[in-house]
């Protein structure tokens, strides 16, 4: 178990010191949020209606953008090969990598997103719900991102393929994340069920995604 935690710590330290982690993703996040009102128009009422969905899509894209750093550096310097031969099961390696990605990129973005929502005139009522939904949902996003990274590690056109593979799998998170958020101003009864399904998606990904990711890495190393 200590290997598990030290792998998580190592990955978080690497993302923080090398850049390309939360900082870069946050920069991307803010840039998209600035571009949106410029493209759509500065009508505050319209932006307010758009804000939850726009924040969710921006979160999805920011997480997706940081996926190529999950396995690629380890693949290039050979440490991924050491991990496949090491005593820790590859499934746990994949889980540690996902958790590290979540703690280093997904979670900070989820926590900061509602605050940045002021750029889109996000309704103050929604700050709490969107924070909760994003914290829960971003776990699934990081796990699926890790799966995509495992499948495309070492491929020359990995970036394009990872979007094609992973964005369809992000659809349920997006749908229930937005519906949980919008429930507060729309139909409050929908908030509970949407949050439950969002949590279920995260938990199912927590179990299944590392297994699939480990199988993918084995296929690459074979």
């Amino acid at each position: 178990m200590s290997m598990f935690w030290s792998l998580i710590r190592r990955d978080i330290v690497l993302t923080l010191r090398q850049g390309g982690g939360a900082g870069m993703a946050l920069g991307f996040f803010i840039t998209v949020l600035v571009l949106l009102p410029l493209g759509i128009g500065p009508d505050l009422k319209f932006l307010q209606r758009l804000a939850p969905g726009a924040l969710w899509i921006t979160l999805l894209l920011s997480v997706l953008l940081s996926t190529d750093r999950i396995f690629a550096p380890d693949y290039e310097d050979g440490s991924l090969e050491l991990m496949t031969m090491g005593p820790m099961p590859l499934e746990l390696v994949a889980l540690a990598k996902s958790v590290a990605h979540w703690l280093g990129t997904g979670l900070p973005l989820a926590i900061l997103a509602p605050g940045l929502g002021v750029l889109l005139n996000l309704d103050a009522l929604l700050f709490g719900p969107i924070l909760l939904a994003m914290v829960l949902g971003s776990l699934a996003l990081s796990l699926l991102a890790c799966l995509g990274a495992a499948i495309t590690v070492g491929l020359r056109r990995g970036g394009m393929i990872i979007s094609l593979l992973i964005l369809p799998l992000y659809v349920p998170v997006l749908i229930f994340g937005v519906s949980a958020t919008n429930a507060i101003t729309g139909v409050p009864e929908l908030f509970g069920p949407s949050m439950l399904i969002l949590t279920a998606i995260s938990l199912a990904s927590l179990v299944l995604a590392p297994i699939a990711a480990a199988a993918a890495i084995r296929a690459h190393m074979a």
Binding site: R156, P168, A212, A219
Partner: protein, 239 residues
């Protein structure tokens, strides 16, 4: 099943079955199209547009069935390393993508006069659209990886992960309020449509199934040949 792991034996079997497959496909389509376009009655509300259903519904069924075939073949390829299973999975994908595209387009053509819109973002339509994207992602994986063995393993993982979408499509009309009508053929209490429409629909479904079988056998044979040629070229280059 293991007996047909030998591509030569599979090829021989495919060659004997293929003429029958082609014949029954043509026959079933002739009968099915005649019944659905000429004999079947107009709908009292939908008029002639109801006939789009005879193209649309079997295409949607086959879109899901083909993905299921692909996922099963992928599972067989991963578990038993059956050499023909990844050929079966790989060649099913483009056919399934075409069925999905056909279902989306015909549904859209029917939706315009009936619902008044080409497209709505409800659960059934969205999940079928996601199915189309999954097919594309699967095909992209095969194209991106040059080593066939590695591509087969990774594509199989992608196919199995994407399989979560199939039950979602099936039950999307029950779980959510959808503009799309709920299941009316495969129900616990029997089909909810009249036999004058049900029979042509089932003939068309059979025709589509035979069409898939025909195309899949041809595609698998082609893929086996392609691999042989590739291996021969490799052997020649390496001397």
């Amino acid at each position: 099943m293991q007996a047909y792991a030998n591509p030569t034996r599979f090829n021989a079997l495919a060659l004997t079955i293929l003429p029958w497959c082609v014949g029954s496909t043509v026959l079933l389509f002739l009968v099915g199209l005649y019944y659905s376009l000429v004999v079947a009655p107009q709908d009292y509300q939908q008029g002639e547009t109801v006939r789009i259903m005879f193209i649309h519904v079997p295409a949607a069924w086959m879109a899901m069935a083909t993905y299921t075939v692909m996922a099963l073949a992928s599972a067989v390829a991963i578990i038993w390393r059956h050499p023909l299973a990844d050929v079966a999975a790989k060649t099913a994908a483009p056919i399934g993508a075409c069925f999905t595209f056909l279902a989306l387009v015909t549904g859209s053509l029917w939706g315009k006069p009936m619902w008044g819109t080409w497209w709505v973002w409800d659960a059934r339509l969205t999940s079928v659209f996601v199915l189309f994207l999954l097919y594309l992602g699967y095909i992209a994986i095969w194209q991106a990886i040059e080593e066939p063995a590695k591509a087969a393993r990774l594509a199989a993982i992608v196919a199995l992960v994407g399989f979560v979408n199939i039950p979602i499509i099936k039950y999307s009309v029950d779980w959510w309020n959808s503009l799309h009508q709920p299941a009316s053929v495969f129900r616990m209490d029997g089909p909810a449509i009249h036999s004058s429409i049900l029979i042509p629909l089932l003939i068309m479904a059979l025709a589509y199934t035979m069409l898939f079988l025909t195309l899949h056998l041809i595609a698998m044979r082609t893929e086996i040949m392609r691999r042989r040629i590739h291996n021969m070229e490799q052997a020649e280059v390496q001397g």
